[in-house]
């Protein structure tokens, strides 16, 4: 690769590894996410020194320690706020927010929705293991109602967030999902999330072997996932299933599953995915519920909205163009003054 003609920096995976010993439980889904991002960064074309990982607190939030980039492990739930400051202070940086379902949706929910609303050009990786891992197993806002955990010994009575709907409700301009058992897909989604201009919300279904083992099994396990995952691709028909013979169609306000080859259904009857269609995206998020309806995976939604960081720079440039670069001496002696002699 040394005689490459592009100007992009050329990195190897190990460039994105730090010298810290990785300390997750053996079998934790976080490992494959780490590896996927290290591989994805080879492809995003960003200079390593311009990449920043910012996390909160949680097992997942240990992530920045293991990356070879600039890394900030902050405090619980506040990663989006710290990251917003970093990005606004230096809009040239490529900022990755690393967070968990507790960190990002429970204590950090407010910063999450406001970061999504403002559309600052950053990438959010939400590690959703439906549990508080680091504090050893309490239910989170994504833990299924009824689940017995340390803090819900008789079953949780909390309803859960539908993460994608929440993100969309907050104004997310990019929503995608992937699963920890499909590193290649994860990596692709990370690259695409980075390409989106604006805030990208990428949810990763991640297994916590210790406190919530197999909670995503149905749609992440290699043997069942094909039947329970709907891998979306913009412009392609929504086909899924081991035999690639199941598809999605729209019926009035509803989505329905059909089998290609049955009841006269053929491939061309299948709905084509349009990630720019917000209503469709909402329906997909609303319906995803294996085994009744497959889990929508991939790029679900994208829209184009001016970014906060661009407008911030623009406004400064406009004011400089109008008034000239600020000189404090002028402010000090400007306006109403008087002389005493």
């Amino acid at each position: 690769m040394s005689n490459t003609t592009t100007e992009l920096p050329v990195y190897k995976k190990k460039d994105f590894q730090s010298d810290q010993e990785v300390r997750w439980c053996p079998g934790c889904g976080d490992y494959s996410i780490l590896s996927s991002l290290q591989l994805a960064l080879i492809k995003t074309g960003k200079n390593k020194e311009d990449i920043v990982c910012v996390s909160g607190i949680g097992c997942s939030s240990r992530f920045p320690y293991y990356m070879g980039t600039y890394g900030y492990h902050t405090i619980h739930g506040r990663a989006p706020a710290v990251a917003s400051g970093i990005k606004c202070a230096n809009p040239d940086l490529s900022v990755w927010i690393i967070t968990g379902d507790g960190d990002g949706l429970s204590i950090g929910g407010n910063h999450m929705i406001h970061a999504l609303r403002r559309n600052i050009d950053m990438n959010i990786l939400l590690f959703n293991n439906e549990i508080y891992g680091l504090t050893k197993g309490q239910y989170s806002p994504t833990t299924k109602t009824g689940k017995v955990t340390k803090s819900s010994p008789y079953g949780s009575i909390d309803q859960t967030f539908n993460t994608g709907k929440l993100a969309m409700g907050a104004g997310a301009t990019y929503i995608a999902k992937s699963i920890d058992t499909d590193p290649k897909h994860m990596m692709e989604m990370m690259v695409k999330a980075d390409q989106h201009k604006g805030i990208s919300f990428l949810e990763l279904y991640q297994n916590c072997v210790i406190f919530n083992d197999k909670v995503h099994d149905e749609y992440t396990n290699r043997s069942t996932r094909d039947d329970n995952c709907l891998y979306l691709e913009h412009g392609a028909p929504m086909i899924f299933g081991k035999d690639k013979n199941k598809g999605i169609i729209v019926k009035g306000f509803e989505l329905a599953i059909v089998t290609i080859g049955e009841n006269g259904v053929s491939e061309k009857d299948i709905l084509i995915h349009d990630k720019y269609n917000e209503i469709l995206a909402f329906q997909l998020l609303n319906y995803s519920n294996p085994p009744h309806f497959p889990m929508a995976i991939g790029e679900i939604f994208e829209k184009s909205v001016p970014t906060y960081n661009d407008d911030l720079v623009k406004q400064i440039d406009e004011q400089i163009a109008k008034k000239g670069p600020g000189k404090f001496q002028d402010v000090l002696f400007g306006g109403d003054t008087w002389k005493v002699s």
């Binding site: 020194e49 311009d50 990356m67 070879g68 900030y72 506040r78 202070a89 230096n90 002389k339």
Partner: protein, 616 residues
Amino acid sequence: MNKEITVESVVIRFSGDSGDGMQLTGTQFSNTSAAMGNGISTFPDYPSEIRAPQGTIAGVSGFQVHIGSGEIVTPGDDVDMLVAMNPAALKANLNSLKPGGHIIANIDAFNKTNIEKAGYKENPLETGELKNYQLVFAPISTQTVAALADIDIDNKSKDRCKNFYALGMTYFLYNRDIEPTIKWIEKKFKKNPLMIQANIAALKAGRNFAETTETVISTYKIPAANIAPGTYRQINGNTATAWGFLRAAEAANLKLFLGSYPITPATDILHELALHKNFGVKTFQAEDEIAGICSAIGAANAGSLALTTSSGPGIALKGEALGLAISYEIPLVIVNVQRGGPSTGLPTKTEQSDLNQALYGRHGEAPLVVVAASRPSDCFHMAFEASRIALEHMTPVMLLTDGYIANGAEPWKLPDLEKEYPAIKHRLIDTTKENPETTKWTQRDEKTLARKWIVPGMKGFEFQIGGLEKDITKGNVSHDPTNHQKMSDLRKKKIELVAENIPLQELEGAASGDLLVISWGGTYGAVHMAVKNLQKSGEKISLMHMQYISPMPKNVAQILPNFKRIIVPELNMGQLKDVINAKFGTHAIGYNKMQGLPFKISDLQNAFMGLLREEK
């Protein structure tokens, strides 16, 4: 003709309904007086509520001006002259008027509805209840409309000129020059010649009315003060604070970043900085105070001069994140414009009750630098100082001001920037000179123990950092017991070393004596005057007013033993007093007031005298 009396100083309060334009009137009066060479100090007194119903006490808006031929450092204890545009204004302010003081009452507004709205049963101008004051009855509203009869604007607009009529009256009474205000009107209403005409006419009519009316017995002359030569402007504390940061960023050659969430009385700093986009200032109005400080932490990590501003309740929310900033060892300035607590308390009133929070309001051993501004113009100085210390020492610095100096204004002799506020040397590494292999953020300046400032974008210097305890040399996570001891000691020492880089504590008065007064923050004006007055009458009293509270200047320990007694006047229940006693083993006593109001000079004098005379 009236007799003319020369006085050393006078306190006037303009008071009326929120819509009556009293802020403007007061500002004109004080600007004119400043231009005439008087010492001045002003304080606006907005209604504490939402624009409350017209004519009610809650809707009263006031503006107090203190002018004099001597040193003027407070807006004044008690009022010599009250301009009351309606009954509510009279009722709300009567208790601040000196016995025998003047009242200019707009009798037109003393109708039945207004009298009742103000909570009076009968017209107070008629009951005799004001017999201890000197009353000037002025039909301000009707006279204003009459004076503008020939001007082609509607009656509502005419009525709105009545504040200039009132101003004109006071200009006559206090021998003020009418010209600066005429110029101001001409500039302000450039686009509306009729309004120029109307306002000037009202101003002159008011002056003439005062000159001709028989109720005015005497006029007053306030000779020019002996004021240091220079260029001056009026400045309030919040603007000064914002400007101090603007200059600090310029002096450090860094971009300014403010992460903030609105809160009274701090929001004006955000408003002011948001105006200066052409300095590259970035103001990030965050979703809450936590995001305010966290975004500033992000900006500091990315190489900006980063700030967050708030008041007590908002600062309380920032405690956890402050710990992170301390753990990161980043430059960060946190401004607390204090107001009355606890909880929502008295949000528009002043208090000094957040010192403990500044010093201790976090979990763990989390030391930082605490400084405080003494008066409106000092906010500029201390904002600059806070930034300088933060950048030179790689530490969060908390700057305390309060609602009183934040909104209060005074003339400010404009500094020579290059001399008095010169370049600040920050600790961003020079990547062309440092070696990525050997340079680490954990490397420290020998004198200050400040770490190196390495930020994203610096090629080859990538590092990872968090709020977990860090290895003192390598910087990675460490749970090692002795390392934690070392890091705890280091964090403490680092703050202590700031004492090497701040001025020694000054004393006003002799270096020893009977009574040392220790004060801090926005009480300066009143405490200074009280001490000065007692010094004049021969008391052995000195003032140690503190701007640097954590760490304290090195010489404080030497100062204290030279006085028989120590008193610490504070607008709280004794917070600095406890700190002083714990630190120096002294037995200082407190003089405390919790009323949402500043100290009165006279009360302080009495308290100090009491102690000076007390048998021991």
